[in-house]
Symmetry: C2
Subunit: 156 residues, 2 copies
DNA sequence: TATTGTTATACTCTATAACTATA
DNA sequence: TATAGTTATAGAGTATAACAATA
């Protein structure tokens, strides 16, 4: 007996239970390729960028805290922070009272690069969403937010 | 002078030009983790699954054609087809008239595993989209399709 | 003894290049 | 010579484990 379910396809119109995953993968790959193209000339890979995101969102924090924030491991974080430190984008400073802990803080140059990335990403984001109406873009971001943050109330 | 642009955040409510990319990444990672959990007990990794998808969408084809379909390289494809062949899910048969080419064809077992994956993925997909209304789920899939397949008309 | 960070090591995956067999 | 497939090798990235310093 044949299955009642539609089979997954790598084409538009997939009605299978894998459609969401395949579409998210394809849409992400496309968006990521373009946005990484913005970061690359600035000397940033995604792993560096996401650390800057965490630092600018949560403020200066330890490497261990960064590991929790970005879902990495401490050995990898050492290298990422090394890269950022050597590029002059963050500083390591021992925490007074517990010298095991190094507080990672963005430098002025780090924040400047971070802001420049945003300026360069603006037209890229507009181009990515160019096929959608303005209301549709906001709707997509809302639906994705509810998918990415289940159980959290949507920002009004 | 400070930038006028909102800065990227790893939290809901991000209004930055990186928001779409970060949300797609997070939503994909969540969906992928759950859907790969469906494939793993069947002995399939994503690279095997996407080859089965291509074969069931485009019919039997050469390894070279599979490379084009999934965006891989021929050395990697050899190993993926090796795995599928050893598991009895596909066959390699020389093409009559050009014995350089091996036609890859899903076996009955290959199609059965493919269909079983769909059956197991059904409740997972429902759970992933559970926070959305039924109309919203269809809308999200439509918007993602237009993002993932720019320039192609949306399926009605 | 437990924890932060570092270093060393191993492992996975992919990409590159060399090789074979057919054409 | 050109192509399909295979094999061998190397590279990037990550994860695991041992280590040093501090608590």
């Amino acid at each position: 007996m044949a299955s009642r379910l539609a089979r997954a396809t790598d084409r538009p119109g997939d009605g299978s239970p894998f459609a969401l995953g395949l579409l998210l993968r394809r849409a992400h790959d496309r968006a990521a390729a373009q946005l990484l193209g913005v970061l690359r000339p600035l000397g940033l890979e995604f792993r560096h960028f996401i650390v800057l995101v965490s630092l600018h969102t949560g403020g200066p924090m330890s490497q261990q805290a960064l590991v929790g924030a970005v879902g990495s491991d401490k050995a990898t974080m050492v290298r990422v922070v090394d890269d950022l430190e050597h590029a002059g984008l963050v500083t390591r400073t021992p925490r007074p009272g517990d010298r095991r802990v190094h507080t990672i803080t963005p430098t002025a140059a780090g924040t400047a690069v971070f802001d420049t990335a945003h300026q360069h990403a603006e037209p890229v984001a507009e181009h990515l969403l160019g096929h959608l109406g303005s209301g549709e873009a906001a709707l997509l971001l809302d639906l994705l937010t509810r998918l990415a943050f289940p159980g959290e109330a949507t920002i009004p």
